[in-house]
């Protein structure tokens, strides 16, 4: 019997029946060996003619031994990677509610424009006179980012969020040094709820980290910040909306307190998707904020990257922005690649990366922004927030909310209080979601709540999709509370592979394929 959503009303018994196959394959799920197990050293899938005989100029540097890598023919290559792809879950597969990661729809128009030869097939060091369109993209993207954030400057080159954090914190360090306070202002405040990249970034740049306690309601209180302020404080790194999915209510007061104490406010903008077109960081007192183009502006996550992490900067930090940047003089853009060529008043702190940053991501993000427009982006943020709160409303009677007093922004945070005594952990619950066809939410982050489950549906989900998701999580929650422990602790049952032994991987690291010893020897 099916209900109105076309789902079985009971968990399917047939699905758990085992029919072992001879190959180990399960229809569309194929066991795929490593390329090293199927390829040959003499095989290549690329036809290249040998050059006419010539006199080598490699001298004594010519390679002697062989590399030791197999090749695959083109059909074998195609099949290998298609089969691998079928073991992956993507946004296009289903709902991907990974909190803090903003797994929204990746429009293929963005892929198409990024592949226009005028963008993909231009070299970062070809004459600047041959790339006016590339500078135009960078200026246009900058204009959008500055307008959406209400900030006067942006450094585009950082390669991802964490790299943007480094860029912003370096600008802060340079500004502090310029005031002659480099030796004293050495401490950065970081709330306990912060993403790991925040303290890691502060440490990378030579700051020491002091923790700011979170209040019981999941927010940071201005009194708690003030109590820590002093001549040794360089900055605070505060995420807003924060990692519990709450807009920090005292953010303006916190910014003012930092500034009064001669320190800076770095805002982690990973959660910007909640507030585009709704509130501007520039109105809140932010000095620097990175924007993950791969979250808010829909450039694909690609299995872990690449991303892009432009940093918007306040008037006070703008002069320290790293090279390269574009300076517009009398309407003409000029690419400034060396500190010595910087216009008066600019004192770049250095360089974050070779060349000019993630052009391929700029094109995708700008394509997204043009498509949505100001009205579409605002609607997207509102829908993202609406979707998160709808899920929260649909689950909060069964699952425990650590911070019920604040509305959620674009993500809803639950803890594992409700699982107490069931023998089911947050991890088990996540793995059971896999069996139901969902990617799990973010688990065990933020660290400030026990057994965190952070659900971010994004604006890309329809109401029907959310209803089905809520119904499924309700079924699972009831099962967890109803002594159906095995469903969880042994999950996933239906993924291409069962639960993996992560401890073993770390205890005896095997990080590359090594040719097995011949069978005869191995047997001894």
């Amino acid at each position: 019997m099916l209900n109105r959503q076309g789902r079985p009303t009971q968990s399917s018994a047939a699905a758990t029946e085992q029919h072992a196959t001879f190959t180990g394959n399960k229809a569309l799920q194929q066991i795929e060996p490593l390329i090293f197990e199927i390829g040959h050293h003499e095989t290549t899938g690329v036809d290249i003619d040998a050059p006419a005989p010539f006199k080598s100029r490699l001298g004594k540097h010519a390679r002697k031994g062989e590399i030791g890598l197999p090749g695959l023919s083109e059909p074998e290559t195609m099949r290998h990677y298609v089969r691998l792809s079928q073991k992956n879950y993507g946004i296009d597969t289903g709902l991907f509610p990974l909190g803090s990661c903003t797994m929204k729809h990746n429009a293929r128009l963005n892929e198409k424009t990024a592949r226009m030869p005028g963008f993909s097939d231009v070299h970062p060091l070809q004459p600047v006179s041959t790339v006016p369109g590339a500078l135009e993209v960078m200026l246009e993207l900058s204009h959008y980012l500055m307008t959406l954030t209400g900030m006067p400057a942006v450094a585009l080159s950082p390669k991802a969020g964490a790299h943007g954090e480094a860029c912003g914190m370096m600008a802060i360090k340079a500004a502090i040094a310029a005031k002659g306070e480099g030796a004293t202002r050495t401490v950065v405040l970081v709330p306990e709820s912060a993403h790991g990249t925040n303290p890691a970034t502060a440490a990378l740049i030579g700051f020491s980290v002091r923790s700011v306690p979170a209040r019981d309601d999941g927010t940071v209180a201005v009194e708690d910040v003030k109590a820590l302020l002093g001549p040794d404080i360089a900055a605070i790194m505060l995420t807003n909306p924060n990692t519990c999915g709450i807009f920090e209510p005292q953010i303006v007061e916190i910014a003012a307190a930092m500034h009064e104490a001669g320190a800076y406010f770095y805002c982690d903008g990973a959660n910007f998707n909640a507030i585009v077109g709704k509130a501007r960081p520039g109105d809140l007192g932010v000095d620097a904020m990175h924007i993950n183009l791969h979250k808010t502006f829909s450039t694909p996550h690609g299995g872990g990257g690449p991303g892009a992490g432009p940093v918007v900067l306040s008037e006070r930090l703008a002069p320290y922005a790293p090279v390269p940047f574009i300076h517009v003089e009398a309407g003409t853009p000029r690419l400034v690649e060396n500190a010595a060529d910087a216009p008066p008043g600019n004192v770049p702190f250095g360089r974050m990366t070779a060349f000019h940053g993630q052009m391929g991501m700029y094109v995708r993000a700008l394509t997204y922004m043009l498509s949505h427009g100001a009205d579409g982006m605002k609607q997207a943020s509102e829908d993202a927030v609406l979707n998160a709160n709808y899920i929260r409303a649909g689950l909060s009677d069964l699952m425990s909310l650590p911070f019920p007093d604040h509305p959620s922004m674009h993500e809803a945070l639950f803890d594992d209080e409700w699982l107490k005594g069931t023998g089911v952990s947050t991890l088990d619950f996540a793995k059971a979601m896999i069996d139901e066809g969902y990617h799990p939410m973010t688990v065990y982050f933020p660290l400030v709540v026990h057994g965190a489950m952070l659900i971010e549906p994004t604006e890309s989900e329809s109401k029907a999709s959310l209803d089905l998701f809520i119904a499924t999580l309700r079924d699972l929650a009831m099962a967890a509370k109803g002594n159906d422990k095995e469903r969880f602790t042994a999950a996933p049952h239906h993924a291409p592979i069962r639960r993996l032994d992560e401890t073993r991987a770390a205890r005896q690291p095997v990080l590359k394929w090594v040719k097995p010893a011949p069978v005869a020897e191995a047997a001894e």
């Binding site: 490593l34 390329i35 390829g39 899938g45 690329v46 006199k55 540097h61 390679r63 590399i67 890598l69 083109e74 195609m78 990677y81 298609v82 079928q86 992956n88 879950y89 128009l109 424009t113 592949r115 005028g118 231009v122 070299h123 970062p124 006179s129 246009e140 390669k159 360090k173 990378l204 303006v252 996550h301 690609g302 299995g303 990257g305 993630q358 052009m359 991501m361 922004m369 009205d375 579409g376 609607q379 997207a380 829908d383 927030v385 609406l386 979707n387 409303a393 509305p407 996540a430 896999i434 982050f445 604006e459 890309s460 993924a495 069962r498 032994d501 991987a505 690291p509 990080l511 590359k512």
Partner: protein, 446 residues
């Protein structure tokens, strides 16, 4: 708006279910007066056709590498990428997946990372490789920090043959962390005395091969001296294809090898996204930055892969992490590893041979132009020529004639007194016609 599935009716129903009158009630934590009331001054929603036209107009203002005779290198190289690569990386399951934190539904990503790590280790001649850095330059910065952790010293010595952008990235990071850097002056002919710079305070020596001027270097004596003083040799490359033809850094004793992988599988993209390759001796593994993929088994004993040794990383170790990197170069890694799988060692060696042959042909032809001297004793697919005139102006004049001739050294090293030097790269894409056009135009311009 085509990307937003909710209808107005949906929105109303959902607000009612949540129990708030309107969506702004959900923004009640935004401080008074800070919630925007008017729309921002940006254009409105556009259809796909219109957006495509706008982007195409901007793209059309740039000169694409494949539309002209093209010899630009200096850290990014134009190579042919098989059609299979770009098709495969656009499969939804690769393109729209996240970092494989849930390994049971990310074995596709994890297996190609494991294969990638194996390929990078083999290419560089090293024991272990990680799952990528942002690019070669940031990877070099991370390698220096790693050497500081390993040696518990804080002074890096940078060769004058290191790409100037890479050196700048290292200097920026080091200055911020109060670490010392000794930068040797630009070393056009690979005859700097780097050995005398190594002392008992040195944490690492950073040497690029082929260097930014295209010279091939023997790193063996540098590795020996560094190691005798308890320092590490960091070997850098910007052209991974070179490792199909030259002695790999691992065979010369390098402790850490880092470089740019763009040449294999990835387009020029005006500088990014690219893919940083990072390999090391396995005894240093716990000090490595970035993600590592490792083999394990599932609860039924079947082989599988997971991210591992993550106690090095920011999400576990926070301010004690080996790096702050989180998002890396995932999809560029996939492009690299697919292209590398297609090539195999046989294809890579052949590709490298053709690159070298083309560069040799071009160098010999350029040497025949009056006023031009090729400076390199040895090179792979890139070399330095002396023009007797400011190279930047020559490059502009050639660009006006529809030839993208190379990178003036002055663009990377302004005010270094090297204004008449030009870096010229030649890969498999160049034809006899390209070379003839370049040489004829250069003769006219000089």
């Amino acid at each position: 708006m085509r990307y937003l599935p909710l209808t107005d009716t949906d929105r109303e129903d959902m607000l009612a279910r949540i129990g708030v009158p309107d969506v702004d009630a959900l923004f009640s934590d935004v401080p008074a007066g800070k919630l925007l009331t008017a729309p921002l001054d940006l254009p409105r929603t556009k259809g796909e056709l219109e957006v495509e036209r706008i982007m195409a107009r901007m793209a059309g203002r740039n000169v694409a590498a494949s539309s002209v005779p093209f010899f630009v290198g200096a850290g990014a190289y134009k190579h042919h990428v098989p059609a299979t690569v770009d098709h495969l990386i656009q499969r939804s399951e690769f393109l729209t997946s996240y970092t494989p934190y849930q390994p049971e539904i990310a074995q596709g990503t994890l297996q190609y990372l494991f294969e990638f790590q194996t390929q990078v280790a083999a290419l560089t001649g090293m024991e272990v490789a990680n799952a990528s850095m942002y690019d070669g330059s940031t990877g070099t910065g991370e390698a220096v920090l790693m050497a500081h952790r390993v040696t518990k010293r804080r002074k890096a010595v940078l060769s004058g043959g290191l790409h100037p952008h890479y050196a700048e990235v290292v200097r920026t990071l080091s200055e911020m962390a109060n670490d010392a850097v000794v930068s040797l002056p630009p070393d056009v002919s690979a005859n700097e005395d780097i050995l005398s710079q190594i002392d008992d305070e040195t944490s690492c020596v950073v040497v690029q091969n082929p260097d930014v001027f295209g010279n091939l270097r023997d790193l063996t004596p540098i590795a020996a001296k560094a190691q005798a003083h308890g320092a590490l040799l960091i070997a850098v490359f910007t052209e991974i294809v070179s490792l199909g033809a030259i002695v790999p850094p691992g065979a010369m004793g390098a402790d850490i090898v880092v470089g740019e992988g763009q040449s294999i599988g990835n387009a020029l993209n005006f500088g990014g996204p690219y893919v940083g390759l990072f390999a090391a001796k396995s005894k240093y593994i716990r000090q490595m930055p970035g993600r590592l993929c490792g083999e394990t088994v599932d609860s039924t004993g079947q082989r599988g892969f997971v991210l591992t040794l993550s106690t090095r990383e920011q999400h576990i170790r926070r301010d004690k992490a080996t790096s702050n990197i989180c998002t890396n170069s995932g999809l560029c890694v996939l492009a690299f590893t697919i292209h590398m799988t297609l090539l195999g060692q046989a294809g890579l060696s052949r590709l490298a041979e053709v690159n070298h042959a083309n560069a040799v042909k071009l160098a010999d032809m350029l040497a025949g132009v009056k006023g031009v001297t090729v400076l390199n004793a040895s090179f792979f697919n890139e070399f330095t020529v002396k023009l007797g005139k400011p190279a930047a102006a020559v490059v502009e004049a050639l660009a006006a004639k529809g030839i993208l001739a190379g990178v003036p050294v002055s663009r990377l090293l302004p005010k270094a007194g090297l204004d008449d030097l030009l870096l010229v790269a030649s890969t498999e894409i160049n034809t006899d016609e390209d070379r003839a056009a370049f040489v004829a135009a250069l003769a006219e311009v000089l």
